[in-house]
């Protein structure tokens, strides 16, 4: 579903060190180097030379919680702008969206502002010359830029130029659980070690529950298990090498070890038996978790807003709980490391006829108090500095604070692999991994297929 994918660069150790700094430092320190932008006032569109008006398109992904917020922010812009330009929002389901964007961009029917995953996903459009360089506009809006977490903005920056700005929350993957189900099965706390998890699985099975809900008909949900296991077993460097182009890194023993652990989970029935029929896009696992049929689910932090959209009562109750991915025995990785998506981004198309208005929208709305509060209200922690106090309010105060700390304390934040790698490799990865889960492929065969 929504934010999972990003292509391209992985934001890892170095980047995240900065993130933690920035989060801690809050506010104006780091990024206020706007002088280097060399642009003065006008470029950010607030006056925008051509007040002739016009219409623009903004494309996002369908999300019951976020779409109203996105539309409200566009409406706010349409009302207050002096450019005369009005934007309209179109939303698309996740998988069709990527295809739609791929085919529409560069054509006469492209959007003016489009949702993307930053990193390599954005880079392919930049390389094709389809994305506007908005460095000047962002630098000119010093106040806006100073609010963005630099390491997250980095994911929207390619070759030193800003092509995308973060537009929603940070998206680490974590373990969610139905506390009622756990309690009924005799599991008293969220597992912190692999052994804890094994015990919980055994108890949940005995209680006739599916221990872990998994939307196995969509490979990316399975990928999260491999991402975390490899990170815990072998450290963040292994995937760093892979994404750097070293295919032989797939042969790292930690990869086979992680895949073996996955197959062991499957064998012991950790995901039940029919997980491969279950989908995430039709909210199959949400229903399992909220409906009390399953104990855990490994998912991105958007799970809370998704649950809130479909099962608001459950989402706001104490039954919904969460925790870090457990540690593994003899793991080389840092137990505080996380995987997921740093954020999602808005970019402006190069051929847009309302480029200046688009830049104006980005710089005036995305860090506005209303927008930031709106994200917090639906359980998303925006990539905005200095939110220590704000995250502790609202329906999802606890969750937001947890996410905020999780990201702040993480030594590395590995970007979702299917976003970090190119599209073709991602597809091979996802189908091969599905086969590993189905035991149609051994870990070794997986490694062979990926190193080719």
């Amino acid at each position: 579903m929504r934010m999972r994918r990003n292509n391209g660069r992985v934001v890892t150790a170095a980047g995240i060190a900065v993130l933690s700094l920035a989060l801690a430092a809050c506010g104006s320190s780091g990024p206020s180097d706007s002088a280097s932008g060399g642009s003065t006032g006008g470029t950010d569109g607030s006056t925008g030379g051509s007040a002739a008006g016009g219409k623009g398109q903004l494309w996002v992904i369908t999300d019951a919680s976020l779409n109203p917020l996105q539309k409200a922010s566009v409406a706010e812009f349409n009302k207050s702008t002096k450019s005369g330009v009005t934007f309209s929002v179109s939303d698309f389901a996740n998988d069709p969206y990527k295809q739609k964007l791929q085919t529409a961009i560069g054509s006469a029917n492209q959007p003016d502002i489009f949702y993307n995953w930053g990193g390599g996903n954005l880079k392919q459009y930049v390389d094709a010359g389809q994305v506007a360089d908005i460095t000047d506009a962002v630098n000119a809006a010093a106040d806006f830029k100073s609010k963005l977490i630099p390491s997250v903005l980095d994911v929207g920056t390619i070759d030193g130029k800003i092509y995308g700005v973060p537009m929603q929350g940070v998206q680490p993957v974590m373990l969610f659980a139905n506390a009622d189900v756990l309690k009924a099965a005799g599991v008293d706390a969220m597992p912190t070690t692999w052994d804890d998890l094994q015990t919980a699985i055994t108890k949940l099975k005995a209680a006739k529950k599916t221990p872990i809900a998994l939307a196995g008909s969509q490979g990316w949900t399975e990928l999260m298990w491999l991402e975390y296991l490899l990170d815990r077993n072998g450290g963040a460097d292994v995937f760093q090498k892979i994404v750097g182009g070293d295919k032989s890194a797939w042969g790292d023993p930690a990869v086979t070890q992680s895949l073996t652990m996955i197959q062991d989970l499957v064998t012991e029935g950790a995901f039940g038996t029919n997980y491969s029929s279950v989908g995430y896009d039709n909210q199959g696992t949400l229903a399992l978790l909220a409906g009390g049929k399953a104990g855990f689910e490994l998912m991105g932090s958007w799970e809370v807003s998704a649950l809130n959209g479909n099962f608001p009562k459950f989402a706001k109750s104490d039954s919904l709980t969460w925790g870090k991915f457990p540690t593994v025995p003899n793991g080389k990785g840092d137990p505080a490391a996380i995987v997921g998506n740093p954020s999602n981004f808005y970019s402006v198309t190069n051929a847009s006829k309302v480029k200046e208005a688009a830049e104006e929208y980005l710089t005036t709305q995305l860090a506005s108090d209303t927008y930031v509060q709106g994200l917090l209200d639906v359980g998303q922690v925006p990539a905005i500095t200095g939110l220590e106090d704000k995250v502790k309010t609202g329906d999802f105060a606890d969750f937001n604070a947890f996410t905020y700390d999780l990201v702040k304390n993480a030594p590395s934040f590995t970007q979702s692999w299917d976003q970090a790698l190119d599209a073709a490799t991602s597809q091979t990865l996802l189908t091969s991994l599905q086969k590993v889960f189905l035991k149609q492929m051994t870990p070794q065969q997986f490694v062979d297929a990926m190193s080719k």
């Binding site: 179109s90 389901a93 996740n94 006469a108 029917n109 896009d281 039709n282």
Partner: protein, 298 residues
């Protein structure tokens, strides 16, 4: 393998068949249990999903998740229908209707004269063309989706209903030409010759002879093309994107993601998408069914 039929040449199915059945019917023997059993099994296979569809669409969402799919629904509600009808359904329906009508009109406007030429013309060019068009019979449309996308974009038709109509019509032409050609072949040559002797132009022969006498084939093609356009999925998926040109099939798919666990709403949407054709079916079942097969059934 020649397939020249030796029996009942060129009888028009509907009327005579009905008469024949009546005749035959009186002499049939006692009903066979095996037949009824098999028929009953298929009835179950067809009816159970439909029962699920209808009853679920009338349930409240909470009730569906709690009491499971097979229990008899208790509190019936039309909420799901009103939800769907307020989520753009009418727009999707209108777009689909426009696409369907335009495709049928276009196909008939192109294929009728072509079939007429094939049957009546002596030109070798026309014969060649016929063979060429027939090659298109089994061409899977999705194999051409990538270049079609290019063409549609170059013609500045992307994200319009026209972008769906044109390729849909093009891929309906082979079958249309084929069926209409066989229909027009049934018009006796003498009629054309008589008209020619009277000095009638080809246009007149086309309008007063060929078209009226191949009504069966025309109905078949109209219905067949209409159903193809009504059900089209891939072309709309790739050639359109905006809400205001979204057709029903894509709308349904979207509801599936949008509503997700709200199974009653999805069922209501599917049911609503079925209603227009169901209404047609109830009104003119015989015409619809005989029309659907007349052109193939010679």
């Amino acid at each position: 393998m020649s397939t020249v039929t030796t029996t009942a040449p060129a009888t028009r199915p509907a009327a005579s068949a009905a008469a024949e059945t009546r005749r035959r019917g009186t002499k049939r023997e006692r009903p066979s249990t095996v037949g009824w059993l098999a028929a009953g099994v298929w009835l179950v296979v067809v009816a159970v999903p439909l029962y699920f569809l209808i009853t679920t669409s009338l349930r409240a969402q909470s009730e569906y998740l709690l009491s499971g799919p097979v229990s008899a629904p208790t509190d019936l509600t039309l909420d799901s229908y009103s939800l769907v009808l307020h989520s753009g359904f009418w727009g999707y329906l209108r777009n689909t209707a426009v696409v369907t009508v335009a495709t049928v009109v276009l196909v008939l406007a192109l294929a009728l004269p072509a079939a007429y030429a094939i049957v009546r013309s002596r030109s070798r060019f026309v014969r060649r063309m016929f063979s060429l068009v027939l090659l298109g019979l089994a061409i899977p449309a999705q194999a051409t989706i990538i270049p079609l996308y290019l063409i549609v974009t170059k013609l500045h038709l992307y994200d319009s209903l026209t972008a769906i109509v044109l390729p849909s019509a093009a891929f309906s032409i082979p079958l249309a030409v084929l069926v209409l050609t066989s229909a027009m072949r049934d018009v006796p040559n003498e009629l054309y010759e008589a008209m020619a002797v009277d000095g009638g132009s080809p246009v007149r022969a086309f309008v007063t002879l060929a078209i009226p006498l191949s009504r069966g084939g025309i109905t078949t093609i109209a219905i067949y093309t209409a159903m193809g356009a009504w059900n089209g999925f891939l072309f709309p998926l790739v050639f359109t994107q905006s809400e205001n040109v979204r057709v029903l099939t894509l709308g349904l798919w979207r509801y599936q993601t949008q509503y997700g666990v709200n199974v009653p709403a999805i069922c209501a949407a599917v049911t609503l998408s079925l209603l227009p054709l169901l209404a047609l079916y109830l009104l003119g079942r015989r015409q619809l069914l005989s029309g659907l097969t007349a052109g193939f059934g010679k």
